[in-house]
């Protein structure tokens, strides 16, 4: 009965166009009534308790780093370096997009920030070189979703806070799978461009490569600092986020000199507003999460899924299919905040490593960013590359299939995730 109340209240509130944060609060009110423990103080305590968290402080700072990275010219220099290195090979611009996406992922942790930068920079170049515009936009969109997988990742922070897991462990566990997604995309791109008639770029000279490397060195320093600092316990994820933000501000204003004070103010306001939307949602979700725990909703779900509890791979497959479906209709943050409190106890009861589950869950949610109708990254790439949505959807499909194949391999062979995670987390 409690499951029914939870799902009905949530879906009904969302269906009438209510913000998801308020839908979750309504859900909380409905659960309080159902559990005969109606007290407005539960709302107040959990809303404040949900935001009064040092761990969540990482979110605004990683967002700030991402916005500064785009506005301050860090993205541009990363792309220029990738161009100098692999721009001359057949389909080189595609590999540039994938390499740049992997590096930018280690700077911002936001798929949208990466998509905005890469879409505006690379899609026009790819079309000019003779690549199909749908395919070019599709690759850029697909490559951008590596953003939330390779650390730092806002998605991992939200998942870690909601599921009460180590964010540093999640970060370290995300590196190898993120790179595997990149390799999967590169293979798909290679298969597609073999027969394309495209204009090859001239090979960059040694001097040009050196110049590109020198110019991007400051931008490349950031992921090194973050990953090194987290691995060796020099700072917490929150402190890593602050270091990332300060570093990117200093590089953008003092070294690259592409960010004025007025632009910096706008970036601060924008980051604060996006943060408040996301964290208000987190706080609202924690109201429901607290009541879900009280009502033992995970226990009821475990009972429902009892036929699958003895087969972890089958359970993972079923959950991943559910997440793919939800991901087509809902953005990443609400999906994490609604499903994680219910699903993490279920996978733990089935003996699945929650860190491994977290990585696959976030990869799946990331793929959701390029699935219509609510493909956030699709909207961004369509917007910045001046293409219509249908074109981008057509182009993204083969790459989405490649990503799902990689995800399938990770479900079939958990060692692909757990071994590198154990090695990096040592």
């Amino acid at each position: 009965m409690t499951i029914l109340v939870f799902i009905t209240a949530l879906l009904a509130a969302m269906a009438i166009g209510m913000p998801i944060a308020y839908a979750l609060l309504i859900c909380g009110v409905a659960l309080m009534v159902q559990l005969a423990m109606f007290d407005p103080q539960i709302l107040a305590q959990n809303l404040v308790g949900g935001t009064d968290s040092f761990t969540l402080l990482a979110v605004p700072f990683f967002m700030l780093a991402g916005e500064v990275m785009n506005a301050g010219g860090l993205s541009k220099r990363i792309v220029a370096l990738a161009l100098a290195l692999v721009g001359h090979v057949r389909g080189g611009l595609g590999y540039v997009a994938i390499i740049a996406a992997c590096v930018l992922s280690a700077l911002s942790g936001s798929a949208v920030a990466d998509a905005a930068a890469l879409g505006a920079l690379l899609v026009p170049m790819m079309v000019k070189a003779g690549h199909d515009k749908a395919r070019s936009a599709g690759l850029v969109a697909s490559a951008s979703v590596i953003g939330p997988i390779i650390p730092p990742s806002i998605a991992f922070i939200l998942f870690g806070v909601t599921a009460n897991l180590s964010i540093s462990k999640l970060f370290m566990a995300g590196i190898a799978p993120g790179l595997m997604i990149g390799v999967g995309l590169a293979v798909a791109w290679w298969l597609m461009v073999r027969k394309e008639e495209i204009e090859l770029r001239p090979r960059a000279s040694g001097a040009e490569r050196l110049k590109a490397l020198r110019e991007s060195l400051w931008a490349l320093g950031l992921p090194v600092i973050i990953i090194f600092g987290l691995k060796f316990g020099l700072f917490t994820p929150t402190e890593a986020a602050v270091v990332a933000a300060v570093y990117s501000i200093l590089v953008a204003t003092c070294i690259y000199r592409e960010l004025s004070l007025s632009q910096l103010y706008a970036v601060f306001v924008s980051s604060a507003k996006v943060t408040s939307v996301v964290i208000f949602l987190v706080a609202a979700a924690l109201v429901s999460a607290w009541l879900i725990t009280i009502a033992d909703l995970p226990g009821q779900v475990i009972e429902l899924l009892s036929p699958l509890m003895d087969s972890p791979k089958l359970l993972m497959l079923a959950i991943m299919i559910l997440v793919v479906i939800v991901g087509t209709a809902m953005d990443m943050a609400p999906t994490i905040l609604i499903l994680a409190p219910v699903l993490v106890p279920v996978v733990q009861a089935a003996g699945i490593d929650p860190i491994y589950f977290g990585v696959l869950f976030i990869i799946n949610n990331s793929i959701g960013l390029v699935t219509p109708p609510v493909g956030t990254v699709l909207n961004v790439v369509a917007g910045v590359s001046r293409l219509n949505m249908e074109t981008v959807i057509r182009g993204v499909t083969p790459f989405m299939v490649a990503q799902l194949v990689v995800l399938g391999l990770m479900i079939a062979f958990p060692e692909l995730v757990t071994w590198p995670a154990a090695w990096l987390g040592r």
């Binding site: 166009g17 308020y22 407005p40 905005a116 601060f268 604060a272 609510v374």
Partner: protein
């Protein structure tokens, strides 16, 4: 709405940026002091958390006025104006009721925490609940305004969809300066 933005939202936005900058200085200062001088800012974590609570709830109020909160508009977009209006009124009434519940719960918590002090700064714990009270004031005002405008027919079809599908709905006009295509 222009007057609201000028006299109410712009100062709040300035406050948001200032709080974020202060949090940045506090936490970064703490990291630097820890490694460079083996010391730290004792109030850093506590004050950062307090400022963060303020940023979240003041920002949530501002973004309500900008209709920037996350939601799913797939169903509502398919309805006629009458259908949209009915959903809009119903959702605003429900949100107004929820806002009242948040206010009453927070007011009680404010009273309970008034005499309690934070471990490091020694200020009243009630300060953590003040931004929620401010938020409920803003939110209630916005929902009432929305209801009045919708019931008097002074609201556009687009405004009847009060949410965004993503927290980063993208506006080409706001493209960052570093995003010009490379040649």
């Amino acid at each position: 709405m222009i007057a609201i933005r000028k006299f109410l939202l712009n100062p709040v936005q300035f406050l948001l940026a200032a709080c974020l900058a202060a949090m940045l200085v506090l936490v970064f200062g703490n990291v630097v002091l820890r490694y460079a001088f083996n010391t730290g800012i004792s109030v850093s974590e506590e004050l950062s958390r307090l400022l963060f609570v303020w940023v979240v709830f003041l920002g949530a109020a501002v973004t309500l006025f900008e209709q920037a909160h996350l939601g799913v508009d797939t169903l509502v977009r398919r309805l006629s104006r009458k259908g949209r209006l009915a959903c809009f009124v119903l959702s605003n009434l429900l949100m107004l009721y929820t806002t009242w519940l948040i206010f009453s719960g927070t007011w009680q918590q404010f009273g309970i925490n008034l005499g309690m002090t934070t471990p490091v700064m020694g200020i009243s714990q009630a300060w953590f609940f003040v931004p929620v009270l401010i938020f409920t004031g803003f939110a209630a005002a916005w929902f009432c305004l929305s209801l009045i405008r919708s019931l008097t027919g002074r609201i556009s079809d687009e405004e009847l969809i009060g949410v965004r599908e993503s927290e980063e709905d993208f506006d080409i006009a706001q493209l960052p300066p570093g995003s010009a295509p490379l040649r």
